[in-house]
Amino acid sequence: MAMDDKRGYRSGLVDLRAGEVSREIFVNEHIYAEEQERIFARAWLHVGHESQIPKPGDYFVSSMGEESVILCRDRAGKIHVFLNSCRHRGMKVCRYDQGTTAVFTCPYHGWSYGTDGRLVGVPYFREAYHSRLDKEKWGLVEVAQMHNYKGSIWATWDPAAPGFTEYLGDFTRYLDLQLDGWDGREGQAEVLGGIQKWLVPCNWKFPAENFSGDTYHNISHRSVDLAGIGPSGAGRRDMGERDVSRKLHVCIPDRGHQTIHYVLPAGKSPPPAYLNAPIVAEYVRHCEEERRRLRGEEARLVGAPGEIFPNTALLSRQPRTMAVWHPRSPHQTECWRWFFVDRDAPTEVKHFLRDYYIRYSGPAGMTEQDDMENWNYAHAASRGTIARRYPYNYDQGSGTAVTNYEYQGLRVPGEVIDLTETQSSEQPMRNFYRRWAEFMEADDWSRLATWRGGERKAAE
């Protein structure tokens, strides 16, 4: 192992001053094992959406890091997230992807748990345990904290983690763009169809940094741009609103969240979109008008790919999806993609969007296939003894971010780089790996909640 303990993560493996990150953090098995403990057991992770479990007894089996979890609604309607592992010998108590149930019965010896996690059935409880087993103590393991944010369900195993909205910090508005209605009403999103799941032979940080805001890799999507898979028959998405906007990289320091972001000029409505489907075009036009009415200046914000630390990707516009990059090994990631629509949208609009979204994203999506190929081969070509001696370069745009960005009266919090002229920067990746290093170094949340002290250590 080439890791040098004395230099630490920040100055050794993640050297932001030099703009270098060691390949070891992507391919090294020890570092991967440490990530499970220090990142995935402590951070807030996305589990699912309440529209997936509308009725009492509904469940959806999800993942938090490597571990299987059950998102379910109990008989009283309360939402829970449990470790999907029997307390007796660890058997997976729920082996379906989703469904409705009265109890989760373990197939191994038959212990049975209510949808509230309580151990309710123990074979031969009277005879073999002499009624002495403390059932209260042996219920399913529940997450330390759970938060329902506008319908999206988040959880953490760490009781000391800050609350979810504090964890998000100034990134809230970008998650809002994902979950609020296109017409500006709060929390109107519902999950469209099933969840797409697939494996990519790469480290989970490849997709995580890509969705953090890799505008530089646009060239690798040249073929879909040429094919014109977009909803107006050209490019891979409608570019009108982007062409008239300021194009930004926005990073929330301390939190490790970052995104690409567009800001329309004051008083400017987005140009027409979805021209291949008049009913969708009209729906979107109407929503934009409503959003302007409800939200005022805020309606100038236009979402684009972003990443909530560590492994949840947002894309609130075209296509409107969220993804989670589940670590499965240093060399394998299980990608899950949720597609969203406004729940009140007309059926024809939902159908058209579904077709477009899966043409773009997911394992069969033409754009996402380009990305997977890059992550797959970049990872494979970084694993060798020789290859891993050479760090990756993250120097693009170093030292050019500002913290007081404002465009025509609209202030954008965070560290911002205006890309309208420069096209690209790697500030989002530096922000992501800076936070990654902090998680890997800090012993507990008192060190990780760097914002509470009012000052942060300069890492760059």
Partner: protein, 65 residues
């Protein structure tokens, strides 16, 4: 006697248990292992009558009347 597939039993069905008790199915979770049932009689412990309990499949030895 062959084993009874508890998955097939509908609520309202009465069942005879290994200790001679009789019970009526309230809910069938469909897992093939458990039934929620209410005791109709219980020679071993008469206080159980009227109570609802989870019944483990191997304890169901026959169908009642």
């Amino acid at each position: 006697m062959s084993a009874i597939n508890v998955r097939d039993l509908a609520p309202g069905t009465s069942i005879v248990l290994a200790d001679g008790a009789e019970a009526e199915i309230v809910t069938n979770p469909g897992d093939g292992m458990w039934l929620f049932a209410r005791y109709l009689s219980s020679p071993r412990d008469p206080t159980l009558v009227g109570q609802e309990e989870m019944i483990f499949a191997p304890d169901v030895v026959a169908l009642g009347r």
